[in-house]
């Protein structure tokens, strides 16, 4: 994994700041770099500013100050280019319940200008890949949360993005579902070589998949690095099963003092 350190930077923020209504500092002077092929975990409690950061990366929220770049594109100025190369699975993703899974994917495909004749095959192979090959013709309103999340990943993959951003992808899903989801996510990186940014507050899961993590607290990045780096920085012994949990709490104790 050491090799990833030399790769090009695909996601970069530079003093990125978002203030809501003059007082709520959702994100404060964030400097972040994610390299090609990495799985980067954005960790932090509810309200830490993870979603806001992601939305600024996609040009869906205007920063109060600072800049964000994906590839060569300024996220605020060229949101369309950014969205062309970036797949985003929002938290609580929603689909059109009256449409089938396939129809929902087809619509997304059209919005991404995927040629109509390629779409059918593509949709079938994606549904296969996310493990719901037989649910494609069912209306989405009948889907379970886990199925919806899988459909969400297929939805993100339809544009074949270099970069994938997942906001809290495992919330509310049962352990077996989570395990399968993690498997799918890992393949996106290891087999396809895509770059992933995942936000979560579920530390044990993130510890299993992330190359590097950033710990967010009240809009600030309080720590950033590989789990080994953060462990030695905060004095947590390597190899613990709850290593990320321990690191996380060390940083919070530090903040609160």
């Amino acid at each position: 994994m050491g090799g990833k350190k030399d790769r090009e930077i695909l996601i970069r923020t530079d003093g990125l700041t978002k203030v809501y209504g003059n007082t709520i500092v959702a994100v404060s002077k964030l400097n972040l770099e994610v390299r090609k092929g990495e799985i980067f975990g954005l960790l932090g409690p509810n309200g830490a500013g993870k979603t806001t950061t992601i939305r600024m990366l996609l040009g869906m929220t205007e920063p109060t100050a600072g800049k964000a770049f994906i590839g060569e594109y300024d996220c605020t100025r060229n949101p369309i280019d950014v969205k062309r190369m970036t797949g985003y699975l929002p938290d609580n993703v929603g689909f059109y319940g009256d449409m089938s899974g396939k129809e929902n994917l087809r619509f997304t495909g059209r919005l991404n200008n995927i040629p109509e004749k390629e779409l059918g095959e593509k949709i079938d192979s994606l549904l296969e890949r996310v493990g719901i090959p037989d649910a494609g013709d069912q209306k989405v309103r009948t889907y379970s949360l886990g199925m919806k999340q899988r459909l969400g990943i297929a939805d993100v993959l339809i544009k074949d993005p270099h970069i994938i951003i997942l906001d809290e992808p495992t919330v509310g899903i049962d352990p077996e579902g989570v395990r399968q989801l993690i498997e799918i996510i890992l393949k996106l990186s290891h087999e396809d070589g895509r770059t992933l940014l995942i936000s979560s507050h579920q530390l044990y899961q993130m510890q299993q998949i992330c190359d590097r993590v950033g710990i967010f607290f009240q809009g600030k990045l309080v720590a950033c690095g590989s789990i080994e780096e953060l462990a030695s920085e905060s004095g947590v012994e390597q190899g613990r099963t709850d290593i990320l949990d321990e690191i996380y709490h060390r940083y919070f104790e530090r903040r609160e003092q």
Binding site: T51, I80, P90, V93, G94, F95, F107, L111, N112, G152
Partner: protein, 316 residues
């Protein structure tokens, strides 16, 4: 944009709501035609004894005549058009926000305005289909029943009537979409549209007469005239009033003026042998109405556009 438009249109056409709109439109056309045929029949008999020539423009009468109890198609559209606009737009944006689909939509490489433009254009397409359908039903069945084909001028006047009707309903569509942008729940936006509808269709004249009564003395002729003029101008902020006045003029060439007519003027007008206004003159009379209605429609849409473009849209 095309993909969005196509989906919105397919959604409309597949929906139960569309079925309801179709049924409403069909019923209105049928019932108003029944009423008009009755009205035309009695008008044809009764007036001859008083030496009044049978009304020319029989074909247009199909759209404005009534048997006295059931309104004409023109009055029906004035009344029910807002409901059609409401049904097509009241949950356009807020329901997608609540379902979390808008968030996902905006993560795609499309311009944000394509979303709202697509919704408006798809709604407008349905309005065009509905209005065209109603006019064609009444024309077709009316032609069959009366056996009198429309003249060229009548066809033109009907086209203008259709344009006015489309713009009028499109205003309500725009207003509904606007309210769906600014409110959180679809129930709220629907209620607000109904409130505006009640205001513009029913309460506006109560309000204007109230104000006029306070401003002008009813004891003098000038006071009365002033009150009437004021009331008429005030009422014209209502698209329903604008629409009713203008289609009344377009479909009835004997309407020669929209102002307050003095008795002398009125005598002079009705004494005219022709008694009817050429189409160009009718158009000239209602031109400002059309401009006003288009302005209202575009205004409603423009505000929803601007608000929507600046809005922060999060997941459900």
């Amino acid at each position: 944009m095309y993909a969005l438009y196509r989906k919105e249109l397919a959604d409309h056409v597949d929906s139960v709501r569309f079925l309801i709109i179709l049924i409403i439109a069909f019923l209105l056309a049928g019932v108003s035609l029944y009423s008009a045929l009755g009205g035309i029949a009695t008008a044809g008999q009764g007036d001859a004894s008083q030496g009044i020539a049978p009304t020319p423009f029989t074909f247009l009468q199909l759209f404005v005549q009534s048997n006295g109890t059931i309104p004409s198609l023109a009055s029906f559209i004035a009344l029910v058009g807002p409901i059609i606009g409401l049904l097509l737009g009241f949950d356009a944006i807020n329901s997608e926000k609540n379902a979390g689909t808008l968030n996902r939509l905006l993560a795609q490489p499309i311009y944000r305005d394509a979303v709202i433009n697509g919704k408006f254009l798809a709604g407008l397409t349905v309005v065009v289909i509905i209005v065209a359908g109603m006019v064609l039903i009444v024309s077709g069945v009316g032609l069959f029943r009366t056996g009198i084909p429309p003249t060229g001028e009548e066809v033109m006047r009907l086209l203008v009537f259709a344009v006015f009707s489309i713009v009028y309903i499109a205003f309500w569509l725009g207003l509904s979409i606007l309210l769906s942008v600014v409110t959180r729940s679809a129930a709220t936006s629907a209620l607000l549209v109904v409130a505006v509808w009640l205001l513009f269709a029913f309460f506006i004249s109560l309000i204007s007469s109230g104000i006029a009564g306070a401003l002008y003395s009813p004891d003098t002729v000038t006071g009365l005239e002033g009150a009437a003029t004021f009331q008429q101008s005030f009422d014209r902020i209502s698209p329903t009033i604008l629409y009713s006045e203008s289609v009344g003029t377009i479909l009835d060439p004997t309407v020669r003026t929209l102002g307050i007519t003095s008795v002398a003027q009125y005598d002079q007008l009705s004494a005219g042998v022709a008694g009817v206004l050429p189409m160009s003159q009718s158009l000239l009379l209602v031109w400002p109405h059309l401009v006003g209605m288009i302005a209202l429609m575009l205004g409603a849409f423009a505000i929803s556009y601007i608000v929507f473009m600046k809005q922060e849209i999060r997941g459900a």
